[in-house]
Symmetry: D2
Subunit: 132 residues, 4 copies
């Protein structure tokens, strides 16, 4: 049986890609882009973290004047949804570039950090949310 | 000769996890953490993008007074390497939380963005690096 | 009738200092601090703008989990008020250091920018607030 | 005797304005701009600190791909100098808006912070610069 996503002419089901894409596959997408353009001279970690901060601010710009409630429905506006997606992608691209450059295994690092976070913020005994 | 990482009882080699971990698996790690603590009240997109910006700044702090060249060898110092890894993990955790909250498929969105970036920054004909 | 702030022996009322302090006086406070510590090697503009971003994020941290309404009353808590004041001062110190290093006259530049902003955002004819 | 800056046709001496302009005068420039546009609804402290972070990132953008040495001469390029000045002015405008909204006397707060910083970073006995 063939994968319908490959065999058919239908567009790829958008929602499923994160379910089948590994971190390294996305790291490779970004690394190839940088390689092809010969940008390694500029892509030192200091510059890359500045870039991540800049892209994060561009993402924030979409939420700057919205209330928290309004921020919850931002994706209802297709134009906003597209723009927000673009900024999230830019943030991810730089974060993956940083991880590749610093040789950080994100899966291991994230899981280890969440274990430490769980010690710092224990699960409350079924009650009020504690401030994060 | 067999790969010792596979044949022995030694812990999995750290570098391989990103090769077998999907985006959704990491999204799930973060989502479960937030669920267990009942933090959804605080985790609206407006607050989450602020949080990403704050964690990014904490990452930047490690590069603030280093030269670009010094930033290239930051991971040679084990203490710095650990601290930088923690901040990268925090950034990734918030970025995954944002994507989950906004229902963004990161793999699709990143690839689509890189296609648009490739149009914006065409591969140069084997020459000097162009400024990114 | 004389100004009691001048005529009495009482300590100067805190609220009045911004009324009698020039930009250059504050620039000088920061410049002397940097000079005395011989930090000019580190204080290139690239590092200073990173520093401003880091301090701004530390200021944001106090507002991260507050609602906009809660942010309006943050100064009612004396401990919070002190901490927020410290971060605002750090932001201002770096902004003044940047202006000194780049030889920017802030008063001229700010006024000129506000004139351009006024063209971009004309005063509405007594009606609803327009989004900034 | 009349002020030559007023009576003559010569442009105002740019460098001197910070020497004669008080913090409150600049606070008033920003406050009037916000008042006239009736933006107080949007200008809660949470939104304003996000705005400061966004403007700071726009300032950082000009230094993103420059080396520290290149950042030292950024003002030699008139176009860059103008653009950098605009971003610095935007940062200052939001910082003044934050201070006004939170009723912070910047002169008092900055001086008090620098005194605490001086305790934290004592002047070294005429030697190597210590890292800030």
């Amino acid at each position: 049986m063939t994968d319908p996503a490959i065999s058919s002419d239908a567009p790829l089901p958008r929602r499923d890609e994160d379910d089948r894409t590994t971190i390294n596959e996305l790291k490779a997408v970004v690394a190839r882009f940088v390689d092809e353009r010969n940008w390694h001279e500029f892509h030192n970690p200091k510059n890359l973290v500045m870039s991540l901060a800049i892209e994060t601010a561009e993402l924030m710009e979409h939420f700057q004047w919205r209330t928290p409630d309004e921020s919850l429905v931002i994706m209802d506006d297709p134009e906003q949804a597209h723009a927000v997606g673009e900024e999230v992608a830019d943030c991810l691209a730089y974060l993956l570039a940083i991880a590749s450059k610093l040789d950080i295994d994100l899966s291991t690092t994230l899981r280890a950090k969440m274990v430490r976070n769980a010690v710092k913020y224990p699960v409350p005994p079924k009650s009020e949310p504690t401030e994060p």
